[in-house]
Symmetry: D2
Subunit: 399 residues, 4 copies
């Protein structure tokens, strides 16, 4: 493993989380220089995380002679510019989510890094939570059979920074902010080679006085027949709700990343400072998580990114994945307006996935619909009569 | 309270649950006669529940001189006939869910009982679970503000009886079986006077070799802007998953009716018989519920029905509600085919519901997007500049 | 089933819960007259629950010509007098927990009803919660093997009524109030015929300015070797914590009766009234239960009591059980002072229970300590060498 | 931060967990040489974790010229020897739990490292789980007031290695294996300066054919009046149950480290290999954790240890702590035999802790027992009359 020296672009919440991770535990990597649009915030960040230098000059930060990796943590509207400069500088680039404000923008960024031949990773932390990684391995090992449905939910009461609320700068509302996580989680569970075919999305602005959506629900239909379903909201009350559910033909997975993780605290108040990201109350029943940067995937994410860089392989999450996510979000926004299923327009590199298979068992020429074991050990078969189409029960000896 | 003498139509799982409830605890009501299409099943039922008489004559059962209430628990395709006879006999009628196989059928049944002037209740048990009733009261008392979204999920590995699998007899697949519950739960939370405007539904048949859907997801848009979302499946693994989630502008409600209710058991096997409805395993970690007929709403349902009958009022769940549910399911099936949002065609009796209101606060002429309390007690306002449309932070003194 | 007409003694919280249960759902039994020490509270109760009469004359209430059952819900120090009068009147008697303030008092009450030959039931509701009843059935069916340990925990922030705090009137503090529940729950799980041998108890008064204990922990050793452990507190923060855990040689049971039962609500406040018994907050995350009188066992308790009365059998919980509980509590108080294990002094009617059995398997003459299945299907045996006493691993072929 | 080169002693489960942690993520530290009593296991370990060298020569491993830290992960009976050699070599020493088989042994080890002046850390991982660390910070910040009671529970079906079952090699049974964790967790919550005064312990051997205890429950009384309670078992069924509960005068904390952490999976079987440490089943409902080495505290433990070494400070867990734990376990074993509270014999370095304080509020000269807010905003006071000692209710105007 090679120690990495990093240019950090951005000093907001995400820059804090990234640097807390990189400088945490016994890590070998370190932020060498940080860029902020504000000299003040840059200096505070430098102090906060013991970073040697800060600057308000983006170009200088990226081209800093001692760094080999550039982490893009600036607001969405600056991603493309930052990536361009970093690619031109020939450095490894790690870009936060979402990759672009639109698929078109994401596509240009993908082209940029591919043309430059630089390493590029997509910082989609929630695909790297330890629970998610282990669950994906279980799915890949066949523990739940074929995946039929994935629900990914990410909701909280709304972002902390002003620019997040400005669709011109971000590309949209809750979908752009939160839906990008959900979509990529879903893709990891249904299989990245499983083409997203079309999308149905409903959006609304129910609580906040803004032009973009503060609530959205969407269905994504994949080539295998699997359905991805995401729910995002900036109006959830009670903290930050991050849950995933996966249904398969032979099993089920439920993940709760934040509000119910085995840490429950009641306090009459008076003691605590920070409880957890997006926590709404400091008294009553609280549900902190243990180690946020681990539970939210940041630790495993950087391990994969730098490991890939060391080993000359692709990371789990690439700029192409970011582009696919943007393409699906574009289709969501189109569908929310057209109110029909919209195709996902996409330069697809993933191949073909067969339909989830139904293999009908037969019994004396009739289709077996279901087998149930009776208390006495015999089996009840529900059969569909091949001639009449009628459904009948049949009790048979054991197995 | 007047003790009721009941004609029970049907001896399947639902007849068992109903009679277990009626004959349970210190109840004053009793099944006097039971009708079954099979003399054998009728006799077994009579024995099982100490019912004085059984018959295979539907008309005779309904017109039994000593009963005043007819409970319709026969398969869906027989509901209309049973209701007609009972209405003609002038008896109070309680009909299991779904009311009809289609809205048209349900409408005819509604007309029948209204014409006959008999008492008619819709046996939608899951709207009567103690948790649901208490949650609805909380919502009505304003505990979570305006309801913006309701998720109702009902999934299991598939029905136990052959006729359930035959769409000709039932009217469809998992939607007809399970979606009817979800829809009415959703209506109770968004308000029964809140008109269901249109519906988007996706269905698929992924596991069982049948013609009807074994999986479906739907969105229901209500007049207020609230969204109801249901997920139904006959392919869920792990038992019976009955969960509801309600989001409001000021709060959140999560209900789990079956798999996680505070009863957890691990057994190495060898001991137990019945664990719970639709349980898949008899060893390992099991999640029974305490008192199924109470937790699933049967007890409170019959209390409301007979209380309404005693007091000459409408029950909480009426044939009109059953008709609304069928109308929404019809729209779901149309949408699953057309793949667009389909209007809910309905003879609406519920009035008009205003849109969920956004009341934008202003600060020095700018729109306040969000207020956050800082650790030092000051407040951070996120403002939208009235002129430029830009979003900015502003720190102000406390409160 | 015979409808019962009841004399209710007492108008406090417990009188309310009992009457709410008796008059709830479709019950056939009714309170005919209520006794209160205060005419005002009696009148309010009469109004609240539609009871025909109230009186401040205990004797008159008990001897009311139209009642056949007397429910004793007055404070502990009045139990003996009430039971004496009711026994003398020849009526069925149901007495709330604890039976007496001491085993001596309980013993006299037991003698009184046995001498009078009247029906007597011990109203220990928490042994009748639907979860507890089902769990006991599972244990009796062998689902978890031999019970080795039971933890019963009942804690809350302290009683609502003044007399509860006065040890002269109640017999003690948190043990008398809450420990009686735990002890009888434990007995139900280890088996009522399993003699409680001795007790170790620690008590303290940590928060409230009272003379009696506001916290206690105790261990009860049963003849089989099983250990019962109870934790009671009047200083718990966060609501009412009612949990039981049962460990067996082949399984485990965890019951949560109140704070985590599948009903979770976040409210920003402003809406709700009553949340749940002993709830501490009306905003933030709240955990109501569905139907308190069902979940806390009142419904099944009265069904058993009146069923026993109808059928001429003993109820599940008798005055003898109440006497055993008092005997164990007496031993707890002695142990808290002496700081040694104190024997449970008891007129034992329960027979003899064998020690939990260890049947050691042998392999080639050595004792098998453990078998583990390896990933390749072979088994690893941990053996204790018969000669040397050394422990060694041995890998063997499958099965 | 200085990169550390490590001598690892031991190749069992604990050696694996330690090395997985050290070599995991982007860590800068590495195992340079591993010692095993078996050349074969040493070679396999070397291979498994890419360790440059293995040896069966303990002395050579410890004195390896390129290592500066020795991690003692050999069986208990070898701790003292290993520590002696390492101290003599002047290296930093990290020793796994329990420190010694007895307090006497632990004391000698403490003296050894203090005499040698080497850095010494006690590898008590469960005091370092992210949840535990955050909970301790909350307690220290006053979030739950004064701690009155801590329950720590650690149970599973029994160890995997033969030597663990041999009390001659380990010092005892489940207490030595698991109780050491619980005791130190309890000390962290009640405060390390809070002297453990005396101990009451019950042990039994209920399931396994061994001479040492397979079940134990103990109470530890601290100088403040706080009670620590631990439950350990080698006969638990259902996996590994690691839970802590902390009660304070103003709050409550519940931690679940293993079986309920927001990861739930049902599988019909056929897919998975390793589920989790001590998991009993590979099908049905399973409860894996995300990242075991993080959730079980190994990551934060080594960060603290090496951080302390870098900074010249003591780690959170020292050999003195290990000695205190052994002293408490010794008292437990004495109490299990004597059946009385046994004093904890200890060379105490921790100072004096005041008793948890009761500050009684008065109202018109009477002691206030409790305040409750009524629905109308008035307050109900429960008062103890200063003269009569009677308890009375008093309704007063708001606050």
């Amino acid at each position: 493993m090679q120690a990495r020296s990093i240019t950090m672009l951005g000093t907001g919440l995400i820059g804090d989380f990234y640097t807390m991770t990189l400088h945490g535990q016994r890590g070998r990597d370190a932020v060498r220089v940080v860029y902020s649009r504000s000299a003040e915030r840059g200096a505070a960040f430098r102090e906060r995380w013991s970073v040697p230098e800060s600057t308000t000059d983006l170009e200088a930060a990226v081209r800093h002679p001692e760094t080999d990796v550039v982490v893009v943590g600036v607001p969405n509207f600056m991603h493309e510019e930052a990536v361009s400069i970093a690619a031109d500088a020939g450095k490894a680039i790690l870009c936060t989510k979402p990759l672009g404000r639109t698929a078109e923008e994401a596509r240009r960024m993908l082209d940029t890094v591919e043309r430059a031949g630089v390493f590029a990773g997509y910082l989609e932390d929630l695909c790297y939570t330890p629970k998610t990684l282990k669950a994906i391995r279980s799915v890949e090992a066949g523990a739940i059979g074929d995946v039929t449905w994935v629900r990914s939910r990410e909701t909280h009461p709304g972002p902390h920074s002003a620019w997040f609320w400005d669709g011109r700068l971000t590309g949209g509302g809750a979908i752009i902010d939160l839906g990008c996580h959900c979509i990529e989680i879903i893709r990891n569970f249904v299989g990245k080679g499983n083409r997203p075919v079309d999308v149905l999305c409903h959006t609304d602005t129910l609580v906040h006085p803004i032009a973009d959506e503060d609530n959205a629900v969407a269905l994504i239909r994949f080539e295998s027949g699997a359905i991805g379903q995401f729910e995002v909201s900036w109006t959830f009350r009670g903290g930050m709700d991050l849950r995933d559910e996966v249904a398969g033909t032979h099993g089920t997975i439920w993940l709760n990343h934040f509000l119910r993780t085995g840490f429950e605290m009641f306090t009459a108040g008076g003691g605590e400072g920070y409880v957890a990201e997006k926590a709404e109350t400091a008294a009553g029943w609280l549900f902190p998580v243990g180690d946020e940067v681990s539970e939210l995937g940041y630790v495993d994410m950087f391990t994969d990114m730098f490991g890939a860089l060391d080993e000359g392989r692709q990371p789990r999450e690439t700029f192409y994945d970011g582009y696919v996510v943007n393409s699906i979000m574009d289709a969501c926004y189109r569908s929310a307006k057209s109110r029909v299923w919209e195709p996902v327009d996409l330069d697809w590199r993933g191949g073909v996935t067969p339909r989830i298979g139904i293999v009908a068992e037969t019994y004396e020429g009739h289709t077996v619909i279901k087998r149930e074991v009776l208390p006495d050990g015999r089996q009840k078969l529900i059969l569909k009569d091949a001639q009449t189409g009628d459904f009948v029960d049949r009790i048979v000896a054991r197995g």
